[in-house]
């Protein structure tokens, strides 16, 4: 019998708490598959965030640390500087990374910390029930932007990959999405490339993953995938924003 598909070894065999249609599960699987393919589970330390993925420390089979809100890049720095030959990744949402942890992510990137950041951008605070995030789109209705995000008063969303790619310490930055099979395949390639950048000690690597939140967007899982494609991808273009190892820096558009 030929095995054509199986659960990645780097994920524990347990029921995840994510809402139906949430794409965190897909992203967990992709990260775990990369860990399996590179055979680095025993050398990897993951940092879980505060947010929907707070329980990620239960799901990944590598050693895990649960971080204070937004501080995962600082924790990862402490781990990596102590264990420079190990692999260290953070798994962070948009509120965690781009709001309360904005200082930590920018400085980890500019220091060129040899860590890999999995940044899940679903344009909303999921765990607390759907409040405005730093990546909430202009006009998007959330619990704390009930009339739609007004850029005059709430300001503009942060383009994380664009911002971090300007920093010399960033070796690799790519934005992907998990709304379709081809995009999921591209997302996995990006995650693999980011871990390779860490392995080759190129510097800081980040993969921003556009993700859905059907529960707090108030959409069915299928409609949420469509909303992502129609609204998020035009505002947050997919592609490689920085790849130090490639010839020149590939720019999107």
């Amino acid at each position: 019998m030929t095995v054509v598909y199986e659960k990645p070894q780097a994920l524990n065999d347990m029921v995840m708490h994510y809402c139906p249609g949430c794409t965190h599960g897909i992203i967990h699987k992709l990260v775990a598959e990369v860990i399996d393919e590179m055979d680095i589970e025993g050398e990897t330390i993951g940092i879980a965030p505060v947010g929907c993925a707070v329980m990620a420390y239960e799901y990944f089979k590598c050693d895990m640390i649960e971080s204070p809100h937004g501080r995962a890049p600082a924790l990862a720095t402490g781990v990596k500087r102590s264990l420079p030959e190990n692999f260290v990744f953070t798994y962070q949402g948009d509120g965690d990374l781009a709001a309360i942890g904005a200082a930590e992510i920018v400085h980890a990137a500019t220091r060129g910390e040899k860590i890999t950041v999995i940044f899940v951008n679903n344009a909303i605070y999921g765990m607390t029930g759907g409040q405005m995030a730093p990546t909430t789109l202009p006009g998007q209705i959330t619990q704390t932007s009930p009339y739609g995000r007004n850029v005059e008063t709430e300001g503009f969303p942060i383009h994380v990959c664009e911002m971090l790619s300007t920093l010399d310490g960033t070796a690799y930055a790519e934005r992907v999405a998990v709304n379709s099979i081809p995009n999921i395949r591209k997302a996995k390639k990006a995650i693999r490339r980011a871990f390779e950048a860490q392995k080759n000690k190129e510097g800081f690597s980040i993969v921003e993953i556009l993700s859905t939140c059907p529960t707090n967007w108030g959409l069915s899982p299928v409609d949420a995938l469509g909303w992502l494609e129609e609204n998020m991808i035009p505002y947050y273009p997919l592609g490689v924003y920085k790849d130090k190892s490639a010839e020149g820096n590939q720019e999107v558009k």
């Binding site: 940092i47 649960e66 402490g78 920018v106 400085h107």
Partner: protein
């Protein structure tokens, strides 16, 4: 530990603590510049690369303490140092360190407050250090040296005790001790006694289950049990780790209680009082948490009153009253905002109290 008297060197308090940390096996320092503690970071930035260690200047005090958290979770000896306003910023991380049962050492070179305050010596972070350095039920070890030599000795002890009990340890000093120079000798440190850390998140190498360093527990009954277990450990620490020095306490009518730099001027005041035939003595807490309650209780059997001398508006005085259950009067003399109580001023208070005794 035996002190090598032949190798005495003259060092500033802040630098002596930094060197003691390195000799205690600490190879990771994460910090942020702030007066009057900056010599610690400057010394580490010079020394760490020469001993194969890491000095990293963080983007903030918040990041620095979280880098400490990461390194502590990875199982290495790690520390940070700061001063009062910076210490407040670290409070989130300290609560998480305590909740994750992680060992580390933190130095607070206290300055006057609140707010930005001043940059002169203070002891006004006593409450913060011993009672409320962050959210939730927790304690940390608090050491209060009063000489540069003791800063060295306690720094080394702090790393050992932090590892032994899996608890953060604080060196609570002040700008006066941090900036002063005294001749010191570094004890020979046996690093073979550093305990193994099987709980560390350092990569399982497929030889064990995955380790998780975590303070989240959503089930209230389980979280309660975790906290109760931690407090059982605190009880052991209280029974075994409280330290104090007694100076002329046995026959003292008036027992002064003072720690850190204040204990130095208090000692001089007591000598002056004795010359005037006033029976004064001093208890000098060396650990502030655990507070040396038993030594204070014993003194309450013979003393007629106590006098707490502090560089604050009076914070430790509460712990003295609690230790003796208010069975004797506890008076206060203190200066704050960066002012240091002088021996003659403390003597004045002693004389005032002596006049009121039978």
């Amino acid at each position: 530990m035996t002190e090598k008297q032949a190798e005495r060197v003259l060092m500033k308090g802040n630098e002596a603590m930094a060197e003691a940390a390195i000799q205690a096996g600490c190879r990771h320092f994460f910090g942020y510049p702030i007066t009057p503690s900056t010599e610690i970071a400057a010394y580490m930035s010079k020394r760490m690369p020469k001993v194969g260690g890491t000095y990293l200047q963080a983007e903030s005090e918040v990041a620095a303490i979280n880098m400490v958290l990461g390194a502590a979770a990875a199982g290495v000896r790690v520390m940070t140092g700061s001063s009062s306003p910076g210490i407040s910023l670290k409070s989130e991380g300290v609560s998480y360190l305590a909740g994750c049962d992680l060992p580390c050492v933190i130095i607070n070179v206290q300055r006057g407050g609140p707010g930005l305050g001043g940059i002169q010596p203070s002891q006004a972070d006593y409450w913060q250090a011993t009672k409320a350095w962050g959210h939730g039920d927790f304690q940390i070890l608090v050491y209060a040296p009063s000489t540069v030599q003791e800063m060295v000795n306690l720094m080394m002890e702090a790393f050992d005790k932090a590892d032994e009990y899996r608890i953060p340890a604080l060196m609570l000093v002040d700008g006066l001790l941090g900036q002063m120079m005294e001749p010191i000798a570094f004890p020979e440190k046996d690093l073979s006694t550093i305990p193994a850390k099987p709980w560390a998140t350092n990569g399982h190498k497929h030889k064990r289950e995955h380790n998780i360093v975590n303070s989240l527990c959503l089930k209230p009954d389980e979280l309660e049990q975790q906290v109760i277990a931690r407090f059982a450990r605190y009880d052991i620490i209280k029974a075994k780790e409280a330290q104090a020095e007694e100076y002329l306490v046995d026959d003292a009518d008036i027992v002064l209680v003072a720690f850190g730099a204040t204990a130095r001027t208090t000692r001089s005041a007591i000598d002056m009082a004795r010359e005037k035939d006033i029976k004064a003595g001093m208890i000098r807490p060396i650990t502030l948490w655990p507070f040396p309650e038993k030594v204070i209780q014993k003194a309450a059997n013979t003393a007629q009153c106590f006098l707490s001398v502090e560089m604050s508006m009076g914070q430790m005085i509460d712990d003295i009253k609690l230790a003796i259950n208010c069975t004797k009067p506890v008076h206060f003399y203190g200066r704050t905002g960066g002012m240091v109580p002088m021996p003659v001023d403390i003597l004045g208070k002693i004389e005032e109290l002596a006049r009121g005794l039978k």
